[in-house]
């Protein structure tokens, strides 16, 4: 099944199309402040950002730059102190906790450095999981999960548990799980961080192959190789946007 031609499992099937060039992620003056004792930590301090469908973006920055906070806010795992975040046309800030769970389920596909698969569940059960929360009947879940695993090249590993799979295969399962709901955004946190160079490269190839024109692929990373394969690098420092442009110009400007 071609992910660009239909939206299997997505509860918002029939939602407006996501044409390339239209904004998928809109951040407007996003601030995230924490109170740490007497000190106010400005993890994000007024970030404006626009990411379009079809874009492949790397968010980079040193430790403490606000990168992780950015990931949490983009992933609707946390809410900003102020500012507006629109994802796939939806004002995320106005959603309740339960609605945010639905947003995570239907609009975001997570891929983590640690894979985060359920250890005692088979690959196909893992991929089915988001569809459980989307409310799909068991048979549809199974069909779609199997199709997604076929797309990532694991047709012959569906019944295997994570501990019976290699690191690269586990990440493929995670990618299948992220794609199975046809989300507007794929959000990956150091997706190759736990893989060797060759396997990492294969995973990045898979991302390129599957991300499609109707969703944004956002990778949070400090891996230059990974960032250089994207179309756009967004660098954070001290909670502010330090650079937003092509990888070529970024790495030319900041020789590592």
């Amino acid at each position: 099944m071609d992910p660009s031609s239909s939206r299997p499992g997505s509860p918002d099937s029939g939602a407006p199309d996501r044409p390339r060039g239209r904004p998928c992620v809109e951040l407007d003056a996003i601030r995230k402040h924490y109170q740490l004792g007497d000190e106010t930590v400005r993890a994000l301090d007024g970030v404006d950002l626009l990411i379009e469908y079809g874009e492949h973006v790397a968010i980079i920055g040193p430790s403490g730059s606000g990168k992780s906070t950015m990931l949490q806010i983009l992933g609707c795992l946390d809410t900003p102190t102020s500012g507006v975040y629109r994802l796939d046309g939806l004002d995320v800030g106005k959603q309740s906790e339960s609605q945010l769970a639905e947003v995570r389920n239907s609009k975001i596909g997570f891929v983590f450095q640690q894979f985060h698969l359920l250890p005692r569940a088979s690959a196909v059960r893992n991929v089915e999981l988001p569809l459980v929360y989307a409310g799909l009947p068991a048979r549809d879940r199974r069909e779609r999960a199997e199709a997604a695993l076929e797309r990532v090249g694991l047709a012959d590993r569906m019944g295997h548990r994570p501990d019976q799979l290699s690191g690269g295969q586990r990440q493929r399962v995670a990618i299948a799980r992220a794609l199975v709901t046809d989300p507007a955004m794929l959000l990956a946190d150091e997706p190759t961080g736990n893989l060797d160079t060759k396997t990492g490269a294969e995973i990045l190839d898979l991302f390129d192959e599957l991300r499609g024109p109707d969703r944004a692929l956002v990778m949070v990373t400090h891996d230059e190789v990974l960032a250089q394969r994207t179309q756009r690098v967004i660098a954070l420092r001290d909670g502010k946007l330090e650079f937003d442009g092509s990888p070529v110009s970024h790495y030319a400007k900041v020789p590592q």
């Binding site: 359920l118 929360y133 799980r177």
Partner: protein, 426 residues
């Protein structure tokens, strides 16, 4: 199953399988607690019901001045010792009393291998109905003893422990309990002429012989007229009524008015005799006195319940840390906080439900043992399978308690920080 439900079911199922050992231990703890509570209620109520249920065959018992309870325990339940003797004349007087429908004399004091021997008249088997018109009927091949022969009719539970059967002979032993001392043995041989059909009553444990045999028994002394009369020294002679004594006179009365009148006459009128009427009321007093024992048992059972609930709480709470990541993954994939929380509470209730099933087994086992003991000791039969409200109330209460015990771990799951559970700290 639709989304949230099947999501919850999945969390519960996965966890129960994964924490098999702690789940099993918890289920057993709840099973014990549930079974214990149900059994304490059922055994105490059933025992009390069986003893005081009213249908004890006789309406009243007349005996020597003393405790009504002792009189009833001795004559109806064949427990305890006799409070003393009353003269034969009283029996004859009651027999002709218009308020009395049936009067049957009992003479006690001997046993055979621990089974009490009661001297009585053949009317016990012909005129007396112990329950719903049923009489103490001799089993196949048996007949009622002849009042002037050394014959015995034995209760249905007697053969089991004594080996006595139809046609067997035995020598009674002095005393109401087995002493094992040879010198206590009487010389007379008694022939078993009937094994009674089971009655599920204390009568099943008794050996009945003619009351005359009791009077004539070697070593027995009658003091009905104030003088000592050794009946065995007057072998073959009619014993004068004046010297005869009986331990108790069992009565069927003609209506409650008769009972009140007898009560007035004997108990309140300052006579030498006591009438226990109604029979069940004397026992109700006993259970009132033993009320505290039941209270203590209930308290113990409740404490076990509390411990079991604590086990649920502890076993679930302990899994929360290791499951933090799982909850975080599920939340990231679209599970709501509430879904996770409800799943934990339901998991607690599912464990409790399994425990309640185990509790039914525990209950059955306790009831079977209790019924066996009560029957062995008293001949009273408890119905192991009888319905008791505690059988419904306890599991319902336990489920609620289980859910309640799940709340704390659930709150912890609810508070799981998704990001902290999933992202490397950087």
């Amino acid at each position: 199953m639709k989304g949230p439900l099947s999501g919850i079911a999945m969390i519960v199922r996965r966890s129960l399988r994964r924490h098999l050992l702690s789940t099993t231990v918890t289920v057993l703890a709840i099973g014990l607690a549930t079974g214990l509570v149900m059994a304490v209620f059922a055994v105490s109520d059933q025992t009390e019901g069986a003893f005081t249920g009213g249908d004890l065959g006789f309406d009243a018992v007349v005996g020597a001045r003393g405790s009504q309870l002792q009189l009833v325990l001795n004559s109806v339940f064949h427990l305890d010792t006799s409070p003393g003797n009353v003269p034969w004349a009283l029996y004859e007087q009651l027999q002709s009393d218009p308020r009395v429908g049936l009067a049957i004399p009992y003479a006690v004091g001997d046993n055979y291998l621990g089974h009490r021997i009661v001297g009585t008249t053949p009317e016990l088997f012909t005129a007396f109905s112990y329950r719903d018109g049923k009489t103490l009927a001799p089993g196949p091949g048996g007949r009622v003893f002849e009042p002037d022969l050394r014959e015995a009719v034995i209760g249905s539970a007697v053969p089991q422990r004594t080996g006595l059967t139809l046609g067997a002979t035995f020598q009674p032993t002095h005393g109401v309990v087995a002493t094992g001392r040879e010198r206590d043995e009487h010389e007379e041989d008694y022939l078993v002429v009937a094994v009674l059909e089971p009655t599920n009553s204390p009568a099943d444990k008794v050996i009945w012989i003619p009351i005359d045999g009791m009077f004539h028994m070697s070593g027995h002394v009658l003091r009905g007229d104030g003088e000592e009369f050794h009946a065995d020294e007057h072998e073959g002679e009619e014993i004068p009524d004046a010297v005869k004594q009986v331990s108790a006179i069992m009565l069927k009365l003609r209506g409650p008015q008769a009972g009140m009148a007898l009560n007035q006459q004997y108990n309140l009128g300052g006579s030498d005799y006591t009438v226990a009427w109604p029979v069940a009321a004397s026992l109700a007093q006993l259970f009132d006195k033993l009320g505290w024992v039941v209270s203590v048992l209930r308290l113990v059972a409740y404490l076990v319940v509390v411990v079991a609930a604590g086990t649920i709480l502890a076993s679930l709470y302990n899994t929360m840390n290791e499951r933090r990541r799982e909850f975080a993954i599920l939340r990231a994939l679209g599970a709501r906080r509430r879904t996770v929380m409800v799943a934990i509470v339901l998991e607690a209730m599912a464990i409790t439900a399994l425990g309640c099933l185990a509790g039914l087994l525990v209950y059955g086992a306790i009831m079977a043992v209790a019924a066996h003991l009560v029957r062995e000791q008293t001949g009273v039969v408890l119905d192991v399978f009888a319905w008791h409200p505690a059988l419904a109330a306890t599991p319902v209460g336990m489920l609620l308690l289980g859910g309640l015990a799940g709340l704390l771990p659930a709150a912890k799951a609810y508070a799981t920080d998704v990001a902290a559970g999933l992202l490397p700290t950087s």
